[in-house]
Subunit: 491 residues, 2 copies
């Protein structure tokens, strides 16, 4: 995100498409920042869904403490002006809801606007949560559950779910799993935090990350006290060969099956290089298999963990296959790490036992497999429609990445990403710019852009909203209708 | 817990009734401690349900680092030898379960023993979870839920539940609540940790606690970096007047409606003293209303929070009224603390949205009220049966504390507590000794015992197990059948 000082304050020219004039004044910096952001939302200068800069970035650009920015964001989230959600960073709330806003004369939300269509990464297909299937399984699970299932539960997770997952992950993802090495967490963010704290306790100083990924996770690692040097990502995935050149790194966070968000697979050579590094240095490979069930052109690549269970910690989640609302994820750990992660998790578990029992029932009954197959068909169809529509209506762009997962990368002409994200927002369409997900590689300068692209999550809207969203997406492309209209000055 | 050195190692004479000879040898202290505990469980020297000393206590007694003890406990919990659960501390697993034990030649559990009947505090009436009521409400809630309900959710909790709780807590507990000041957590332990971190961030150094309570919570506060001086508890509750004498205390954790575990109510004078202290010093009163719905002789005392919502943070939980398995609790905060706790909670919530929506549906439909009334009747009846049976069969003891909550305090002749807890364990009955819950008051020495008593949780067993448990309880009393048998040397 580039920032230019002006005489009246600080102007953001954000990769997220935010044009925001912030005038920092008043008693405290934090209060001034909070008020300025609040006003910007109320007056519509920050449109619903607009993504705010990462706290680290904004703090750097404004030359203020990062804590000032995070506290300001947290306050506005608590008031309902912003939302901070896994996968989509901190954004302006789609529709500021008076009920969620701390009532205060200065804080009344502005006029309502039509809800934006979201194709932003991280948002799952909430509209299609299998409500009936879930409740039916919940009834079966609760009826069969022993009395003690309603107690505080095993801090590592219910054995029913860990046993079901061990069988499922081995069958579907080639994971080498035993129930005793599986730990249930309330989402990937929670699980990654537990492992990061355990690594820190063991003296690990740094966890390498991929040069494209979510600030949310990198910030989590930094918050735990880990350094997070970035490995450059190219067409073969993360350059794991560079790990040897990074001193003091004890772990590496990878998305081998489907790099997020660039959509490439980690090549066999890079997979081998990661495992070689782990063996040579005693390091740990952290495999985030966030969408491993969704490959459309052929059988998915098996989990890296299956190659070397002693050196890889495997992470999976129910957020993509079912819904984030479940707050259910799992990790398969090397045996030595189980007690260490258990110690980080503490004596009291926070994961709903009822939901754990229900998911276990879904998996063992086969309903989960049937559900995943069904939505895989849906997403494959949508990806096909996206590729076809863009090929016909926006020949100037190119869809890259594997035929897999929930999002596609649409390559754009150099220098057009920020303008097109802004144009989309003006048309009520929320899309992510690839550079929103870019971590700086030490060698880079802050303004070095490797490529311009959109990250389009085609799973994030309902069937009824999809055609309209796709049409809008085509229109806002460099050679789409909206672009021509803009050139004619009609917008 | 008193400890005496012997030439062969360290002998515990535990208030929890554990006689354990630990011989610390081998390479590392931690490994030696872990092995010794494992052997003690396998050989039966530590009986199922036996409560282990708090890590702080044991570390002090052995003169080793506390982390050594906590890591050893965590490893044994992960292996299934011990359980660490809210409300009952770290205990020997009732029945070491091969499925939960990390398989290893040295770690195979010992011979099975008959399952013990548990009357230990903290265990709720799991056997009576309203399964059908819950699933029916879940179906209604999921059918009515908007699409966005299946997303990552509001970090503060679903507004449906916060709105329902605001109405319910005002009506039932006299809490001054608005949805905007309610934060949902995955249990009281989670919520207290969030507030403790927020207090720490604000520069608070110490939170006073009551001289009787759960190590689990005190340890949590210590882990966050807070000092935890103890206020002596007497027949009028905690001596809140002593707060002025405790330097640097910025908050106090109280159980005003029903002191845990002694069962007394905080007197009006002591309530006023707590609020006066808060006003004078700007301190925060943390009200743990863990069983406020359960008063049997008259209307429950209203929440302290209702008297001064700006100075009291109110905590409630579904663990007693429904089940700990839900991992659902709530706090009603002064407005200024909402963003601070939100910042501590972070951008990603870990509480199941589906369970939140289901509980909201239960409350708004009135089913929750009906359910609470029903189990209140059950617990009232059980308490009456307990008091009557002891009066008839063990006239030497006296039940104290209010007619409220889920446990009763049975006063014992001085010096008999540990022996009777042990005797109960030999008869397969798990009961807690009052001194297991005692925090030292600065003035005290470690061996000063104010009183001997049992803490009997009469809600913790099913209807079918209750009569047998009650009979055993009467028999192990000082003048019960088991005692006479012991004197005759028959045991």
């Amino acid at each position: 995100m580039a920032v230019s000082q002006t005489n009246s304050g600080v102007e953001f020219l954000s990769a997220a498409g935010i044009d925001l004039l912030l005038e920092l004044r008043g008693p405290g910096l934090r209060a001034a920042l909070t008020d300025a952001l609040r006003v910007a939302v109320r007056t519509g200068r920050l449109v619903p869904g607009a993504r705010l800069p990462a706290s680290r970035t904004l703090a750097g650009d404004l030359g203020i403490a990062r804590s000032t920015v995070t506290e300001s964001y947290a306050e506005l989230v608590a008031e309902g002006w912003l939302t901070a959600q896994q996968g989509s960073g901190t954004r302006v709330a789609d529709r500021p809801d008076p009920r969620t806003a701390v009532p205060s004369p200065a804080r009344r939300p502005g006029p309502r606007r039509p809800p934006a269509q979201g194709l932003v990464p991280g948002a799952a297909q909430f509209a299609e949560f299998p409500r009936t299937m879930w409740v039916t399984a919940a009834r079966r699970a609760l009826t069969a559950a022993p009395h003690d299932a309603f107690g505080y539960g095993d801090p590592l997770g219910r054995m029913e779910l860990r046993s079901a997952l061990a069988e499922y992950l081995a069958r579907v993802r080639g994971v080498d799993a035993t129930p005793e090495r599986i730990v249930i967490s309330s989402g990937f963010h929670h699980g990654l935090g537990l492992l990061a704290r355990a690594l820190r306790t063991q003296g690990v100083r740094a966890m390498a990350v991929e040069s494209y990924g979510l600030d949310l996770y990198r910030d989590l690692l930094i918050g735990v006290g880990l350094e997070t040097p970035a490995l450059r990502v190219d067409a073969d995935g993360a350059r794991t060969g560079d790990l040897s050149g990074l001193p003091g790194v004890g772990a590496v966070l990878l998305t081998p099956a489907h790099q997020f968000p660039t959509g490439v697979a980690l090549s066999p050579e890079r997979r081998a290089a990661a495992l070689d590094w782990a063996h040579r240095t005693g390091g740990l490979v952290v495999e985030d298999d966030y969408d491993g069930e969704f490959r459309y052109d052929r059988q998915p690549i098996g989990a890296l963990q299956g190659r070397d269970p002693a050196r890889v910690a495997y992470f999976g989640t129910a957020s993509k296959s079912l819904a984030p609302a479940l707050r259910l994820a799992w990790m398969v750990l090397p045996e030595e790490w189980v007690p260490k992660v258990a110690a980080a998790k503490g004596p009291v578990d926070g994961v709903s036992v009822l939901d754990q029992l229900t998911l276990a029932e879904l998996i063992t009954s086969g309903d989960f497999d049937r559900h995943v197959r069904a939505i895989r068909q849906r997403y494959r169809r949508r990806r096909g429609q996206l590729v076809a529509a863009l090929a016909e209506r926006a020949p100037g762009v190119r869809v890259t990445g594997m035929a897999a997962g929930l999002q596609a990368v649409v390559e754009l002409p150099a220098g057009t990403e920020a303008r097109i994200v802004r144009r989309a927002a003006r048309h009520g369409l929320l899309v992510g710019g690839l550079n929103e997900f870019r971590h700086e590689v030490p060698a880079d300068g802050p303004d070095r852009r490797e490529r311009d692209a959109l990250v389009v999550n085609y799973s994030a809207v309902s069937d009824s909203a999809w055609p309209g969203a796709l049409d809008t997406l085509c229109r806002i492309m460099p050679d789409g209708g909206a672009a021509r209209a803009e050139l004619k000055g009609e917008l």
